[in-house]
Symmetry: C2
Subunit: 144 residues, 2 copies
């Protein structure tokens, strides 16, 4: 069976979710970009005791200068705090604030809602396979 190129397929898909989320969030008066929320979610759910900007950049596979700018905005708005690591003053440890927790709770709830609506009509097995393929593709991509 011929495989359709992923680029064109994902290209068609990639803007959909952030746009739906942006529409929903702006209705709630929240204007953070998708990547800003992604950073906040990473900080919120990180299992690392001491998450630093470099970790976030690696996680997102984005340039550290972009992560810095995003972290700057989130800190300015009181969603996270940056603390110099006493054991290594090169590093800034990033923690989420109560305000940040509230925002990520809201974002996550909206995200789940939209996801459920998009998935209506699919079986559990189809959804399971979908996520399996995505994880597989990610893993393969990291081996390149």
């Amino acid at each position: 069976m011929e495989i359709q190129p992923l680029g064109m397929i994902l290209g068609g898909l990639k803007g959909i979710f952030p746009r739906l989320m942006a529409n929903r969030m702006s209705e709630l008066g929240i204007t953070y970009t998708f990547d800003q929320m992604v950073v906040l979610m990473i900080v919120r759910h990180s299992k690392q005791k001491q998450l630093v900007q470099q970790d976030i950049a690696e996680h997102m596979k984005k340039d550290k200068s972009l992560v810095l700018r995003i972290v700057d905005v989130l800190e300015k708005d009181g969603l996270i705090v940056r603390i110099t690591d006493p054991n290594d003053r090169r590093r800034n440890i990033i923690n989420i604030t109560g305000k940040g927790v509230d925002l990520t709770d809201l974002f996550y709830a909206e995200e789940q809602l939209i996801t459920k609506e998009l998935m209506v009509g699919l079986t559990d097995e189809e959804i399971y396979t979908f996520y399996k393929v995505i994880n597989h593709v990610k893993t393969r991509a990291e081996e390149f």
Copy 2:
């Protein structure tokens, strides 16, 4: 079964493919961005007899001013031509050139290669279900 929010999942995936393609293309001395190639592919494979910028913007769900800027670059580089519609001078009909065809052939070949490599280890049925879910999600998103 609990559904993971698509945003975080796709957020992790979305940059992967364009980045792999960009790496591959730059090795070949080609520096067009992913979206520029997407526009070229749309022009190439469009079944419409007279494709205009507005059609491309709708297809990509992007602002027409962005499409204009991309079309400007592709035209400047001789990959497409823009012809005023004799029946409606508001419209510019966009056609691909021979040079554009060559580039899209190359892009498509590389895209298929990378897709195949990413899909190694998955069954035909898993891949089929993956595309089915993606098309389903796109269709649902358009109904919002």
